[in-house]
Structures are given as structure tokens and as C-alpha cells.
């Protein structure tokens, strides 16, 4: 590969300059890849980081690059009762209904829980405080913790938040909604979009490494490829379709 030769030349140069030789690949891969999650509503819209959100600066984590084709190690950031509230909440953002599985069946809670283990660790405190505030609001307005309410009463809580009758929960609602969408429509590698339910819902035809002119036609549906970017085999791994 072109880079290999360049790097070799470069290592020789470094040696000649009196420094230690440039590190081989293994060191390079261990060298920290820093990752931090961006926060709700912050999207890179062309030239500007729109809707600038700010979080306290702390906990910039280093981790090896997730380059392996193996699944992410399941882990949990939330306590069982927090997880229960989270699931009940995101179940109302994208519910199971006649249009198919909802956010919970699709693994969005799993995605969110795993995200807070590492990438969103700096934000965990404010998010779990939001979950607690949802429960507190559910108790005062509907008489029980959120997860113990009927679907109708849960919707009444979300309606109240969405119409700004619980103004301190607005930011939490936006954040939880955004993370639910990430969990619903992400590559299944990250724990969400189970059985490609999210991608099938919106007719996203899946990851193709080589896209033909035919695959880009508007007039003709493209067949869905059910395949994670991280699946070991190169081709069409189908899950239940």
C-alpha cells in the first residue's frame, strides 16, 4: 500500500534526525482516539455547529478505536429503576404499534444505556437527574412514578412537557428524544435498531460499500441490505426477513 512505503521512508527520516523511530502501527492504534458525544440538537450542518449546546468540560475519555468486528461489550450505566423509567419514557416517543416495533423492542434503551457508560459519561449526572425529575413530575401530576402509569397517563405527562407545562423538563425531553432516534436508527453494532426495525421503518436500504447508478434511482425501490458495517462477512447478512 502506498502509505506503507511512505511511512517506511518517514521512519528512516525520523531515525536520521536523531529521534526515536516513528512508532509502528500497534502503538499508533493504541494512541488515544478521543471521543465525546455531542449533545442533543447539535448537528454539524455544513459550516457551523448549529444550535450550539454546552456541557461542563470534564472527563475527556480516551479509548482504543472501535475497529474490531466484534460486538460492543454490553454494559449498563443506569440503575435498574432508572432504566425502567427510561424505557417507559422512550416507549412513548416511538411506540410499538401497527407500524411495527417501537424504540424499546428496537434496543434504543440499550443504545442509550451503553452510551452513558463511556461516551456520555460527562453528561450522565444531568441525564439521570432528568429521569428523576420525570418521575417526580409524574407523581405530582398523575399520582405514580412514570413507569407505573398507564400508556394514556404517560402520554399525558409527555404532552405536558411538550407544551411547556413542565418547563424544567424541556431540555431532558429534547435530549431523550434525540438519543431515542439515535438508538432507533443506528447501526445495530451499537445496540439499537434490532433486526433492522428502524431502517426498515423509514426504508433506508442499508450499508452498501459499492453503490451503482441503479442503486441511486428514485423511480425504483432499492432492495434492503440487512448488514451491519461491522459484520465479519462482506455480504448480505439477513435477520429474519
Amino acid at each position: 500500500m502506498k502509505n506503507k512505503n511512505s511511512r517506511k521512508a518517514q521512519e528512516q527520516k525520523v531515525e536520521a534526525s536523531g529521534l526515536d523511530a516513528a512508532q509502528p502501527d500497534v502503538i499508533r492504534d493504541m494512541a488515544s482516539i478521543t471521543r465525546r458525544e455531542m449533545i442533543a440538537g447539535v448537528t454539524l450542518s455544513g459550516a457551523t455547529l448549529v444550535g450550539a449546546a454546552f456541557i461542563p468540560v470534564s472527563a475527556i475519555q480516551a479509548a482504543p478505536q472501535a475497529a474490531q468486528a466484534t460486538a460492543v461489550k454490553p454494559a449498563a450505566a443506569f440503575l435498574p429503576e432508572q432504566r425502567r423509567t427510561l424505557e417507559a419514557f422512550i416507549d412513548r416517543i416511538i411506540p410499538r404499534d401497527e407500524n411495527g416495533p417501537g424504540a424499546v423492542e428496537s434496543g434504543a434503551a440499550e443504545y442509550i444505556d451503553r452510551s452513558f457508560v463511556e461516551f456520555l459519561a460527562a453528561e450522565k449526572e444531568s441525564f439521570t437527574a432528568g429521569l428523576a425529575a420525570v418521575d417526580a413530575f409524574a407523581r405530582t401530576s398523575q399520582g405514580a412514578p412514570f413507569a407505573e402509569l398507564s400508556p394514556e397517563k404517560r402520554d399525558a405527562v409527555l404532552t405536558a412537557i411538550d407544551s411547556n407545562q413542565a418547563p424544567n423538563l424541556r431540555a431532558f425531553f429534547n435530549r431523550a428524544r434525540r438519543l431515542t432516534l439515535e438508538g432507533m436508527f443506528c447501526d445495530p453494532y451499537w445496540g439499537g435498531n434490532k433486526n433492522f426495525a428502524g431502517w426498515d421503518l423509514i426504508r433506508y436500504p442499508g450499508v452498501r460499500l459499492n453503490v451503482t447508478a441503479e442503486d441511486q434511482k428514485m423511480s425504483k425501490p432499492v432492495a434492503a441490505v440487512h448488514r451491519s458495517a461491522y459484520s465479519a462477512s462482506g455480504e448480505g447478512e439477513n435477520h429474519g426477513h
Binding site: I33, C186, G198, V207, A229
Partner: protein, 569 residues
């Protein structure tokens, strides 16, 4: 104690879009070059077709300099600045040219003389209040040969609209004259692109395919684009997209005159009592080094350049390097660019695949290509509609008041429409203002204890007006193309905060009291220090800045070669 290294001819700070280009003419001329890059080498196999990896978690990077130096932002001098959560740039050999979207434009001839042309056509009162805009000290024609060099060195796909004065409606009829056709034809078309071209022509606009630094056919020993749809903020797994990692840097290494120091973060540029720079102090794996050099080229991002100059104090420069006239950080420009127009179509668009640079552009409402009399603004915006929409981004769809933001009705709306909407990207001509500048944050520091860059960006009137005007034209275009719903946002009030098109801050000019670098890119006050970066720009054009940054970088490096004795002797 810093380890002193063997002197070299030129030390280059940063191997991204600009530094990665500048090393090539230097190395080809036989100068011994040491390049300091905070990141390390990546390879095509490191890249992933994954929205979470690329766009959500911004994992296409090596090293932590970008994260450690995230700037702060405020809208006025009385405010305490707050910090952003994600950095605008990545770190690696090749820098952010690895994950950029490949939109490779020349600026318009008007961009280089906004001040004099505006006064000539509309009178001095048409210059927006509070703007510090000056003409560039060079013209489009001066830069044309370097645009040409870049387009052929890195490989740009496109269609000329003005070939030595001959206008071709298949290309951009508003562009400045070019010497040659692009080295490759535009990227592949699609039914979606045809639909947009037809719509624009219906309302008498002049649509054309945007230029892309992506191979539409094999070029430069690299393969053609495979349109997989993970170009934006992701690296190219087949090296069809130009990054300096696969074009100019390997070419420079072949000369054996370039030495690359990975994981090497410049901490100070050192100068002597006569105001001459003597080399660069940097940290690599926790060790401090000093790299002596006869000339230094500063090639990192706008925020980093300003910060490093302000941190590099000495007897000759008590207020920061090349800052005895207080110009470092002034005339900073955050590019006024966003997706303000959204449109819903009655059918699936199938624009998941492709690239952001696989697009249609309308330039009728940019620059001074239309009469501004009575409009209350100068400049305008280019309008781009493109392929490459990822699933999570598509689910963040505007609902055009047809559905709530959650619940079964929202889910049904997404099912029907997530694949049926587009946003039109409006990029404005953007000017420098007195109320918009960079300095060092008094509170927030990086892990080395050095302050981060602080952005102050006050209210503007001209750019929001221009953006809204052009976005309403975009609405007209999208309706003509068949949209059933169109929404136009008024856009932000204070405008760009943290920008990936941040330019200015070390402006180019003839007057040392109003600029930092001379017309060739070398500091007035420290003549053997050149700056290769968007930070030398005097205005921002209505298009992506990278090709202009690269053309300027090549020109500055070329000037250093030709004037070696006078600059470095």
C-alpha cells in the same frame, strides 16, 4: 529541558488541507522540511460506513489536540464565554482534509474586491455598518494559476462554466474565467439530480453540478468514487476523495526531503530579539523538543493559528508573535452557512447514498451576480442540494406542522416521510466586523495549562438578510422541482459560532496596521514566518473555502522557494 534537534530549512506546523499541500512545492524544490502533526497516520481501513462512528461520535481522528483545545464562544465583550462540546477539526496526517466533504470551489472574482466593487456600484454607504472589510491584496486572476495547480495535483471533478471567457451553461456561468477544463467530469448524476436541475431551469435559474475533489474516474493512481454515502465526516475507504494524506503528502515524501513528526504538538513558535523566528517548540509523547528552522510555515486551523501566535510571546513580541500592531485575532470570519430551507416531496428520493459533493448548485443569488439596489444587503448565498443523508439525520426530519414530535403519529410521519425531505444549504459571502474577533479565553485552559481560543461574534445585519433572501429563492426552486411543502427558517441572529469554515484572524494585506501577513502570506513583523491557512483570508466567499486555502498555501510555499535568500537568508 527541550531536546534540540538538527536544524532544517523549513518547519511546517500542521499537516492538514493547507500544510499538507505546502510541503509539496518545498520538498520538490529540495528544501529540507520537518512537519509537525499533532495526530498520526490513518489508513483507508480505519474508516467506517457508520453514522454513529463518523457523525455522532466524531471518531475519525487520532490524538486529542482538537478535543483539548475546543474554543469558547460569546456574542459580546461583556459576556462570559461558554465552551463547545465538539471540536471543529480532526487530527491526523492529512488533518481534516480526511473527513471533509470534498466540495472544491474557487472563490468568485468579486470576493477579492468586495469593498472597492461595492463602493463603485452602490456607493460607500452600502458597506455594512461595523464591517472592517478591505479588498484582498491579490485578485482572482493572481490566484488562478494556483487554483489550476491544485485542481490538477489533487484531482477535482467538475464542468467549466467559463473557459477563458467562453461561457458554457453546462457549468457555473457565474464563475471567474479558468485557463483549463477540470481534469475530470462531474460526479455521477441521478434521477434526483435531474429533477432538481429541471426545477431550477423552470424558474430561470442556472443550476449546475458542483465541483468535487473526488475522483469521478480513476485519477492520480487512485480509484473512482463508489458513492457509498459515508463521505461527510468520514474518511474514504477507496481513497477516491482527495485528502492530503493520499495526494500531496505521499508525493512530498517521495522526494525524501520531508520528515514527518507524528503526535507532535507545537506549543510555541520561538523568535529572537530581531523579530526573526528561529524554530518551533513542540511536545511529543510527553517530551519537549525544539526544532530549529530557517523559516516556519504555520498551517493549522484558524483558531489554532491565532492561539499559537498569541501564546508565543518574546522580547520582540510582548503581546504575541507578529502582534505588535494588535491585529492577531482581528477580522476573524465565521462562515454564515446553514440549511435554512427544507422541502418535502411526494415520493421517496433515495438520496441515502452518494456524497455531499454529488449535488446541484444554484449560484444566481450569490456574490454580485444580481442587482442589489434597494435590497439592503450586499453579497448573497450559493444554494446546494445534495445526496448523502444518513438514517438518524433523516429521522430528525422537519414535520411541516403535519405531525407532533413524538408518539404514533410521529412514527407514522417518519415512516412515510423520512426519505422524502431535503434541506438546501445556503453559504453566504461573509465579511469581517469590528465586533467579531478571536483572543485567548481568560478561564478555560488545555491540559498543558495554556488558554484556549475564545470567539467573540456580535450581531450582524447584512448576512442574515442575504441568507434569508437566497433561502426564499431556494424555496422557489424546490417548489418548481416538485416539493409539496417548503419551510424557510429566518436563521440565527448572531450567526456562526464555532465554524468549520472559520477564516481570517491573521488577515492578509499591504498595511501592517490593518493586517498580519503580507500579500504573499508572510508576517509583516516576522518575515520568515509564513501562514498557510484560511486565517489569511480577507473575506469569506459564498462557497466552501478549502480549494482557496490550498491555492493560497501553494502560492505562499512557492513564494518561499523563489524568494528563499531574501526570506530565510
Amino acid at each position: 529541558m527541550a531536546t534540540n534537534l538538527k536544524p532544517v530549512d523549513v518547519a511546517v506546523i500542521g499537516l492538514g488541507a493547507a500544510g499538507g499541500v505546502a510541503v509539496l512545492p518545498l520538498a520538490r524544490a529540495g528544501l529540507k522540511v520537518a512537519a509537525l502533526e499533532a495526530g498520526s497516520w490513518m489508513k483507508p481501513g480505519d474508516f467506517r460506513p457508520d453514522e454513529v462512528h463518523n457523525n455522532i461520535r466524531r471518531m475519525v481522528t487520532t490524538g486529542r489536540k482538537g478535543w483539548n483545545e475546543i474554543p469558547t464562544f460569546r456574542t459580546g465583550p461583556d459576556q462570559r464565554a461558554r465552551r463547545f462540546t465538539i471540536p471543529p477539526m480532526m487530527n491526523a496526517v492529512g488533518g481534516t482534509s480526511i473527513h471533509w466533504d470534498g466540495n472544491s470551489w474557487r472563490f468568485h472574482p468579486w470576493d477579492f474586491k468586495v469593498r472597492s466593487e461595492t463602493i463603485r456600484r452602490y456607493g460607500a454607504s452600502a458597506i455594512p455598518e461595523g464591517s472592517t472589510v478591505e479588498d484582498w491584496p491579490l485578485s482572482y486572476d493572481d490566484l488562478e494559476p494556483f487554483y489550476d495547480t491544485i485542481e490538477y495535483e489533487v484531482g477535482v471533478s467538475g464542468k467549466a462554466g467559463n473557459l477563458q471567457g467562453q461561457i458554457d451553461p453546462a457549468g457555473n456561468v457565474f464563475e471567474g474565467p479558468r485557463k483549463r477544463e477540470y481534469p475530470m467530469p462531474p460526479l455521477r448524476g441521478s434521477e434526483f439530480i435531474d429533477m432538481l436541475m429541471t426545477g431550477a431551469r423552470k424558474v430561470n435559474m442556472h443550476p449546475h453540478r458542483g465541483p468535487a475533489a473526488i475522483n469521478s474516474r480513476p485519477y492520480g493512481g487512485r480509484s473512482a468514487c463508489v458513492y457509498h454515502g459515508f463521505c461527510d465526516t468520514g474518511g474514504c475507504h477507496v481513497s477516491a476523495k482527495n485528502s492530503t494524506m493520499v495526494t500531496t503528502i505521499p508525493a512530498a515524501l517521495k522526494t525524501e526531503n520531508l520528515t514527518i513528526f507524528e503526535r507532535s504538538q507545537a506549543t510555541r513558535i520561538v523568535s529572537d530579539n530581531n523579530g526573526k523566528v528561529t524554530g518551533v517548540q513542540y511536545i511529543r509523547d510527553g517530551q519537549e523538543y525544539f526544532q530549529p528552522a530557517k523559516a516556519v510555515l504555520l498551517g493549522s486551523y484558524t483558531y489554532e493559528n491565532v492561539r499559537l501566535l498569541l501564546l508565543s510571546k518574546s522580547k520582540a513580541f510582548p503581546n504575541g508573535l507578529a502582534n505588535n500592531h494588535g491585529q492577531v485575532g482581528k477580522n476573524y470570519i465565521g462562515h454564515w452557512a446553514s440549511r435554512e430551507t427544507a422541502a418535502l416531496f411526494p415520493n421517496d428520493l433515495n438520496i441515502w447514498y452518494g456524497a455531499l459533493a454529488q449535488n446541484v448548485v444554484v449560484n444566481d443569488w450569490a456574490d454580485d451576480s444580481f442587482d442589489h439596489t434597494g435590497l439592503g444587503f450586499i453579497g448573497g448565498a450559493s444554494l446546494t442540494v445534495n445526496h448523502e443523508v444518513h438514517p438518524i439525520a433523516s429521522a430528525n426530519a422537519p414535520t411541516f406542522a403535519k405531525a407532533p414530535q413524538w408518539g404514533s403519529k410521529y412514527k407514522a410521519y417518519l415512516k412515510e416521510n423520512a426519505g422524502r425531505w431535503v434541506g438546501c444549504y445556503a453559504q453566504c459571502n461573509t465579511l469581517p466586523y469590528e465586533n467579531t474577533y478571536l483572543d485567548l479565553d481568560p478561564e478555560v485552559k488545555d491540559p498543558l495549562g495554556d488558554p484556549v481560543c475564545r470567539i467573540t461574534s456580535g450581531k450582524k445585519i447584512n448576512e442574515p438578510r442575504a441568507s434569508l433572501y437566497a433561502s426564499n429563492k431556494a424555496a422557489e426552486w424546490l417548489r418548481a422541482a416538485g416539493a409539496i411543502e417548503v419551510a424557510v427558517n429566518a436563521g440565527p441572529a448572531e450567526g456562526p459560532n464555532l465554524s468549520v469554515h472559520g477564516v481570517g484572524g491573521t488577515r492578509m494585506g499591504k498595511d501592517p496596521a490593518a493586517s498580519v501577513v503580507d500579500p504573499w502570506g508572510f508576517c509583516h513583523e516576522a518575515p520568515n514566518l509564513g501562514i498557510v491557512s484560511g486565517s489569511v483570508m480577507c473575506t469569506h466567499g459564498a462557497r466552501n473555502p478549502t480549494e482557496t486555502i490550498q491555492a493560497l498555501a501553494w502560492r505562499t510555499a512557492d513564494h518561499l522557494v523563489k524568494s528563499w535568500k531574501s526570506i530565510a537568508g
